[in-house]
């Protein structure tokens, strides 16, 4: 009986202190190491990071437009000093991928979906890199972050 009492006290003490600890865990979002699926967390992507992606996309797009606005190259000629239809088509395709990634990133960020927002942000950065790589292959260098 005495043993039972001691055990009961230990269990109670454990539960009380444990619950206090668990209480914190339950109020901490899963993204921050807690157990709560509903607790709000600060969006992991800052306005400044978003701005970096938006500005980089703007610079890349302006470079594309500057290239495309040049006089068209003669048939079969591909140079940086004139624009070629097939190159413009290629860059437009890369730009579309950037746009899909950008729209996705904005959507997740606006709805404050943390995990998806990080993925979408990384996808947008990767799409921008692909865009720059496509432009580089065609002789158009776009120097901009990220």
């Amino acid at each position: 009986m005495r043993l039972f009492r001691i055990a009961a006290i230990m269990v109670m003490a454990g539960l009380v202190t444990g619950c206090a600890g668990l209480g914190d865990k339950f109020n901490t979002p899963v993204f921050n190491g807690g157990l709560s699926l509903t607790a709000t967390v600060q969006n992991p992507i800052t306005n400044e990071q978003q701005a970096g992606v938006e500005l980089s996309a703007t610079i890349a797009r302006q470079a594309l437009l500057a290239y495309a606005r040049q006089p068209r190259c003669a048939a079969g000629v591909s140079r940086v000093t004139c624009s070629s239809g097939p190159v413009v088509a290629k860059l437009k395709k890369a730009n579309r991928l950037v746009n899909i990634a950008l729209v996705k990133m904005r959507d997740f960020l606006d709805r404050n979906q943390q995990v998806s927002a990080i993925n979408a942000f990384n996808e947008a950065v990767a799409a921008l890199r692909d865009f720059r790589a496509t432009a580089y292959v065609e002789g158009i260098e776009i120097k901009a972050a990220p």
């Binding site: 400044e48 701005a51 970096g52 610079i59 797009r61 302006q62 437009l65 495309a68 950008l102 972050a145």
Partner: protein, 70 residues
């Protein structure tokens, strides 16, 4: 000697055109480059500024979509 004159003129025109394109590009991207510099130096970006950046990007995207591929 005289035969090379048209080639020289074409080359000069081509260089001038490229320089003009680069200058125009420089002018166009100057505000964005300034904003990027601000970001790098640790300045904060407001929600309104972000909205403006998005709108500008969307306008450029629309312009690109309207480009002829021919």
């Amino acid at each position: 000697m005289f035969a090379s004159i048209p080639v020289i003129i074409t080359t000069i025109m081509s260089i001038a055109s490229t320089a003009q394109t680069l200058l125009a590009l420089g002018r166009d991207v100057a505000p964005q480059v300034a904003d990027l510099k601000r970001l790098i130096s640790g300045d904060k970006v407001t929600v309104d500024e972000l909205k403006e950046m998005r709108a500008r990007n969307d306008a450029l995207n629309a312009e690109i979509e309207s480009l002829s591929e021919a």
